[in-house]
């Protein structure tokens, strides 16, 4: 009896959670765009990664409601969607800062001193790699290799690859962001 009762209450709570998600989704145009995108893939399960890419592109990060929405629409267990979203480094479940600074930590960049550039930026922003400053201005990330090895060390500021970074140029760039 007890199991059945807890089961029912759990279903009820997840149902109310889902209706909250759908209500949230109905008031946001981006969910509509995402649904159109899912339709393009005929709601196929193997398109999950493509859909998560689109979702992150639209929202900037994958919040819980978004993952629940995707799971509901694709008819997948939420655990599966959450499992995929957390497995891949590209997806982030936390909101990002206004600017993103990605320091490439590939072998060529490392040999040419990207670790020193990284620690200089960490010192300047007073955060560690993978974190966002308290004022939500800058997120600091590392990349495994962006394929710009001929121009090492490389730093990506808001999507623009900057070749031959040095401690001075990197710190200068960060200071400009913080001042703006």
């Amino acid at each position: 009896m007890l199991t059945v009762a807890s089961e029912t209450s759990r279903t009820a709570s997840s149902r109310s959670r889902l209706s909250a998600v759908l209500q949230h989704a109905s008031g946001d145009k981006r969910f509509k765009i995402l649904e159109v995108h899912m339709k393009k893939f005929q709601f196929r399960h193997d398109a999950l990664i493509e859909i998560l890419h689109k979702a992150q592109e639209l929202f900037g990060y994958l919040e819980d409601d978004l993952l629940l929405f995707i799971a509901y629409k694709l008819k997948l267990p939420t655990s599966r969607v959450y499992g995929v979203a957390t497995f891949y480094h590209f997806f982030t479940l936390k909101p990002q800062g206004q600017h993103t600074c990605v320091v490439c930590m590939g072998t060529a960049c490392f040999v040419k001193g990207s670790d020193k550039v990284m620690s200089a930026i960490e010192k300047e922003l007073k955060i560690k790699s993978g974190e966002t400053t308290a004022d939500k201005k800058v997120s600091l990330l590392t990349a495994r290799c962006i394929g710009a090895c001929g121009l090492a060390p490389a730093v990506v500021y808001d999507g623009a690859v900057t070749p031959r970074a040095s401690i001075d140029t990197a710190v200068e760039h960060i200071k400009k962001w913080m001042a703006s």
């Binding site: 193997d46 072998t107 962006i146 090895c149 001929g150 121009l151 090492a152």
Partner: protein
């Protein structure tokens, strides 16, 4: 689409060619140095100078000498201008106008030039990169004018699938993804597998840090990869292909999408390719930043939209792959070799390279070396030629200490062994691997223990967590290496590290774990003294049971 149509497109493209061509490198490396502006300004200067009928400004793929970008090559003089700025554009066009017979003089004031006779260019043999820096990757006509899609036509109309596989076996091509499995053998296995639907996958998840060949091939010559995949699909009997590309390569993804669209429009992909019974579609799958997805079974899981974790083999993908169907997985560079092999014949290909490794290999030369960029060399060439002659040695009078190949699965080859020929077997013998083609040069300022720790950190982060030896072993090995770097370790820690290396190597599920200890083992083999210098004296002596060996003082 018939052969006649193809020839017509080619003739039309060649006829429309202008007298002088300025080829602007629009690969990701030069683009990050501002080559887009250079191209725009050159086009503007051509228009301002009224030279539209004489000069073509063409977007091309990688011109190879990435460290000197943005690069602009000029035909027919074969001059290559380096570090071109947008401000240089009017100067170049003015020189062209004033030049004798309207030709572009080799040297233009204020614009530096690369020496076309330097070994960096002359020692290269181009098969995979033959079109790179020549054709416009965003225009299918440009690829067709370089005899593109001719090999596919020949395969479809003059060969049976069996012939195609046999020719591949004869060419001796081996997989360029790293392990070097004979491509013909793989094609044969998939072709023989029964089971209706089959798939072809192109592995473009170039995760090795320090390698960018596949990115360059996709950005410079995407149609060659598509053509190669189509020929492979015909050989094995597949009708659906996937290209699994890293999300980190947005330009490569965009160019592939354009290429697929164009090929479909011309009837070179889709149903009834070249008016034959052969149907073939290609979809792009974008990765999401997981190194382990370069492993074939993990890659297939990712294509299916799941967590990218590997599974034990056998069954191999050739028999039980994507959605349980026979699947052929080859690397980008392998597919890019295919059209050239059928265009020029298997014997031609087999004549290049060394005895057991045929053809060429593209390397991404980077690190502490003067000329960084892409090099394509015949197999069997000594490492020294690549690093010293072509790369120009260490910059600023430094001395080369080692060359790292194969990324986190490979090893460091010390300076003394630079005369080793570059082929699969020789590199294996030195405890490294050919890998996908990353070649990082290290000089005297590089600490080998730190390099080993760097790679171990990489493997630790990228371990998918499915099997324990890899998940827990990499963490422990990283801890031990960290202790050694911080001068906190003893000889006992080093012994434990070696023991762990052996265990992880032999018990891990997939290639990631099995090769994770390689950077440690190879640096230990050649640079053991660097580890030993960092060790602290063991307070308990060399024994392993914690019992001090000098507890009983030796008495006379």
């Amino acid at each position: 689409m018939t052969l006649n149509d193809l020839t017509q497109i080619k003739d039309k493209e060649i006829a429309s060619r202008k007298r002088i061509v300025l080829r602007c490198c629009m690969a990701a490396g030069c683009m990050s140095s501002g080559s887009k502006d250079v191209k725009d300004q050159l086009e503007k200067a051509v228009a301002d100078g009224g030279l539209q009928n004489d000069v073509e400004v063409r977007c091309v793929g990688c011109l190879r000498l990435c460290c000197e970008g943005p690069l602009v090559a000029a035909d027919p003089q074969i001059a290559m201008y380096i570090k071109v700025t947008p401000q240089n554009a009017p100067t170049i066009i003015a020189a062209l106008k004033n030049g004798r017979n309207g030709a572009l003089p080799c040297s233009v004031q204020d614009v530096a030039r690369a020496d076309a006779n330097s070994p960096f260019f002359t020692k290269q043999v181009s098969i995979v990169l033959a079109n790179s820096g020549v054709v416009n990757p965003e225009k299918i006509e440009s690829y067709i004018s370089a005899d593109g899609y001719r090999a596919l036509h020949e395969a479809l109309h003059e060969m049976t699938p069996r012939d195609v596989v046999d020719a591949m076996v004869k060419s001796g091509l081996r997989g360029r993804g790293g392990a070097g499995y004979p491509t013909g053998l793989k094609w044969g296995t998939v072709a023989k597998s029964n089971g209706g639907k089959k798939f072809v996958i192109c592995n473009a998840d170039e995760g090795d840090p320090g390698a960018f060949m596949d990115r360059s091939v996709l950005e410079s010559d995407p149609h060659a990869v598509l053509e190669g995949m189509a020929i492979a699909a015909y050989a094995v009997g597949a009708d659906q292909g996937f290209i699994y590309v890293r999300a980190e390569y947005p330009l490569a993804i965009a160019r592939l999408q354009t290429a697929i669209k164009q090929a479909k429009q011309l009837g070179l992909l889709g149903s009834g390719v070249f008016d034959s019974q052969f149907n073939f579609n290609i979809d792009i799958r974008i990765g999401a930043g997981a190194f382990v997805c370069g492993e074939e079974t993990a890659l297939m899981a990712s294509v299916e939209g799941q967590r990218g974790t590997p599974r034990p083999r056998p069954p191999f993908p050739a028999e039980f792959g994507l959605w349980g169907r026979p699947t052929l997985i080859n690397n980008v560079e392998t597919f890019a070799n295919v059209p050239a092999i059928y265009r020029n014949g298997a014997e031609w290909f087999a004549a290049i390279g060394s005895e057991r490794s045929k053809g060429t290999k593209v390397f991404a030369l980077a690190g502490k070396v003067k000329n960084t960029g892409l090099v394509e060399v015949p197999m069997g060439i000594p490492l020294r030629t690549i690093v010293e002659d072509m790369g120009g040695g260490a910059p600023n009078g430094g001395k080369i200490k080692a060359v790292q190949t194969g990324g986190p699965s490979g090893g460091c080859i010390p300076f003394e062994y630079l005369d080793t020929p570059v082929d699969y077997e020789s590199l294996n013998k030195l405890g490294s691997i050919m890998g996908s083609g990353g070649m990082i040069v290290m000089d005297e300022s590089t600490n080998m223990v730190e390099i080993a720790r760097f790679f171990m950190e990489f493997c630790m982060d990228e371990s998918c967590g499915k099997c324990i030896p890899c998940r827990a072993g990499t963490v422990q090995m990283h801890r031990l290496l960290d202790r050694i770097v911080h001068r906190k370790a003893t000889a006992r820690d080093l012994a434990r590290l070696e023991e762990l290396c052996d265990m992880v190597k032999h018990t891990s599920l997939c290639g990631l774990g099995q090769t994770a200890p390689n950077p440690v083992l190879s640096t230990l083999r050649f640079f053991r003294n660097e580890y030993e210098e960092l060790l602290q004296p063991d307070p308990f002596g060399p024994r392993h049971n914690g019992e001090p060996t000098n507890a009983i003082p030796a008495t006379g």
